[in-house]
């Protein structure tokens, strides 16, 4: 069989760029994660760090502004029920800004999608499902602990801490699982390259190369486990086909949803407790869902971007030569490592998501 014209050999530098990008993404995230070392790790010494500026600073300022307005709006809702509409709008916008700021949820979901070769549609579903779970967990904690049991803040902190540990351990588990699967794929891609004929000297026409590939012994060997992909590349090895895009995928997706969504947002808990104290628990519940909706939109947007970037990278990696496949597998492996690193740093307390200092020790 002959390859369609668009499958002509790509320049090797493209593959290099992709491989390089994978390394940079992985290293960059690692660096970023380590740089977050807060009071639990190495204490920053000397001058205080500059407050975030630019876009991030603006996001944080807006977020703080909306958040602070929440308490006044809940109070207003006590007098005038129509203020609840404003409360919902405010919570929704707060959610959007909140998710655009720091938080491991986006990073883990994006890395998960990149590593797992997921579709953007799935990315959106994962984002919404984890945000919904997050809202439900916050409501459950406050509903049971505060409203029913009249538990103190200390008890709630303890509950929160346990959930946090379970959630971080789950993130690591999701990452390790991906690492194992992707490690195998990477090995398989590497072996395919090793079994391929030596590269034709630079300057040689493309056609003879194709000819060699398709008429050679490798062709038959390779086709045993091959599928012709959407981008005219060959997906290598049977593992990923059954394991990653098969029907059982939703169960794996569930593990990511739980890992990310289990840990409730501290802001939501504060809002719920405050609403409860004003005798407006239901308004707090509605606000929490509105917040979750806002969060989901931002996370979904970022997740879609991650999936898009991966698809473009896949397009450029000429998977036919094997090197492209190798690069893609490298990116996936890197993303899996990023998930593990995030989980480990969070679990070890070297990176904090949100902690209610002063009351939760």
């Amino acid at each position: 069989m002959t390859s369609p014209p668009r499958c002509r050999s790509r320049r090797p530098w493209l593959v290099l760029v992709i491989a390089f990008t994978a390394v940079v993404v992985a290293a960059g995230l690692l660096d970023v994660a380590l740089a977050q070392t807060g009071p639990f790790g190495v204490r920053p010494s000397g001058a205080p760090p500059p407050a975030p500026e630019g876009l991030v600073g603006w996001l944080l300022a807006k977020q703080a502004e909306f958040y602070r307005a929440l308490s006044t709006t809940i109070r207003a809702a006590k007098q005038d029920g129509s203020a609840v509409v404003g409360l919902l709008g405010l919570s929704f916008v707060y959610g959007i800004f909140h998710a655009a700021g720091p938080g491991h949820g986006k990073a883990v979901i994006s890395s998960y999608l990149v590593a797992n070769e997921e579709t953007w549609r799935r990315g959106i579903v994962l984002s919404f499902a984890s945000a919904l779970l997050q809202a439900l967990v916050a409501i459950t904690i406050v509903g049971i602990a505060a409203a029913l049991l009249h538990a103190t803040t200390r008890t709630m902190c303890g509950t929160d801490r346990v959930i946090e540990i379970v959630s971080y351990a789950l993130i690591i588990a999701v990452g390790v699982r991906l690492l194992l699967v992707k490690g195998r794929s990477l090995l398989s891609a590497w072996q395919t390259i090793r079994h391929q004929p030596l590269p034709v000297p630079v300057g040689a026409a493309v056609t003879p190369s194709d000819h060699l590939h398709h008429d050679g012994r490798q062709d038959h060997h390779a086709h045993a486990g091959h599928v012709h992909g959407e981008f005219c590349g060959h997906s290598h090895g049977p593992a990923e086909l059954t394991d990653l895009t098969g029907p059982g995928g939703w169960q794996r997706g569930l593990s990511a949803i739980v890992a990310v969504g289990l840990r409730p947002c501290s802001g939501a808990i504060l809002v719920l407790v405050f609403a409860l104290a004003q005798g407006l628990f239901w308004a707090g519940v509605a606000a929490t869902f509105a917040m979750g909706l806002g969060t989901a939109i931002t996370v979904a947007a970022i997740a879609t971007l991650a999936v898009g970037a991966r698809a473009v990278a896949a397009r450029f990696a000429d998977q036919r030569t094997g090197f492209g496949t190798l690069a893609i597998r490298g990116i996936e492996l890197g993303a899996a490592v990023v998930i593990i690193v995030f989980g480990a740093l969070l679990l070890g307390g070297y990176m904090m998501s949100e902690r209610l200092v002063v009351v939760c020790s």
């Binding site: 960059g28 639990f40 205080p48 500059p50 975030p52 938080g103 200390r154 008890t155 949100e354």
Partner: protein, 214 residues
């Protein structure tokens, strides 16, 4: 076309990932501070006294489920266990207070005289941080900030800082964080007055106190 898209998408993704980390944190707790520097009769500074008023939402959260003798009224005794938790928890963060005498770092002992009061829906934590040893120095600098920005500190508009029992030759001035976009407080005249050779522009983001004795 795709090539261009690829070149744009990856850096965009990198930026987003970076934003994820460098933004550190975002506050869920706002503190309005009134602080003092206390002096012994011999003119040496003995420690820092803080009165930190928490925001309404956090105050309600912190007092959730606390048993009180009278409903809705929190006495100092009712709040004692919470005050204990507060100071224990704050120790982990160095009480967010950093002191220097003539440029040299000063250590604090464990806090004393700590209690909480609940007035007008807001919780105020009072505590004193004694210096490891009383200091006699012409220049004492204080900084109050949360490096991870979980807690947003701001000096009160009224009476933000006092010297207690200080020699009459000592003057204090304060600097409020202004690089922080969340703070809407305008850059005070006091801030510029306090910008002397020893203050460094880079630390404008912390709540600063400069005590100068001539």
């Amino acid at each position: 076309m795709l090539n261009r898209l690829f070149r744009c998408l990856i850096p965009a993704l990198l930026c987003l990932s970076a934003a994820d980390g460098t933004a550190l944190a975002h506050p869920h707790v706002w503190v309005t501070m009134k602080s003092e520097l206390a002096y012994a009769p011999d003119g040496s500074a003995t420690g820092v006294r803080h009165a930190w008023t928490f925001d309404e939402m956090f105050s309600v959260f912190a007092t959730q489920g606390l048993e009180t003798k009278q409903k809705g009224v929190f006495t100092r005794e009712d709040l004692a266990p919470l005050a204990e938790v507060n100071v224990t928890s704050l120790k982990e963060y160095d009480f967010f207070t950093y002191a220097k005498a003539n440029g040299k770092k000063l250590g604090f002992n464990d806090p004393v005289d700590y209690w909480l009061e609940f007035t007008n829906g807001a919780l105020t934590l009072h505590f004193t941080l004694p210096f490891k040893a009383p200091v006699k120095a012409p220049n004492i600098d204080l900084e109050i900030y949360d490096p991870t920005w979980f807690v947003d500190f701001a000096f009160a508009d009224k009476d933000p800082f006092h010297l207690v029992g200080a020699p009459s030759t000592c003057k204090a001035s304060i600097g409020r964080p202004n690089g922080n976009a969340a703070s809407t407080a305008p850059l005070g005249e006091q801030f510029f007055n306090s910008l002397d050779a020893s203050s460094n522009y880079g630390s404008r983001f912390a709540n600063k106190v400069w005590v100068r004795c001539t």
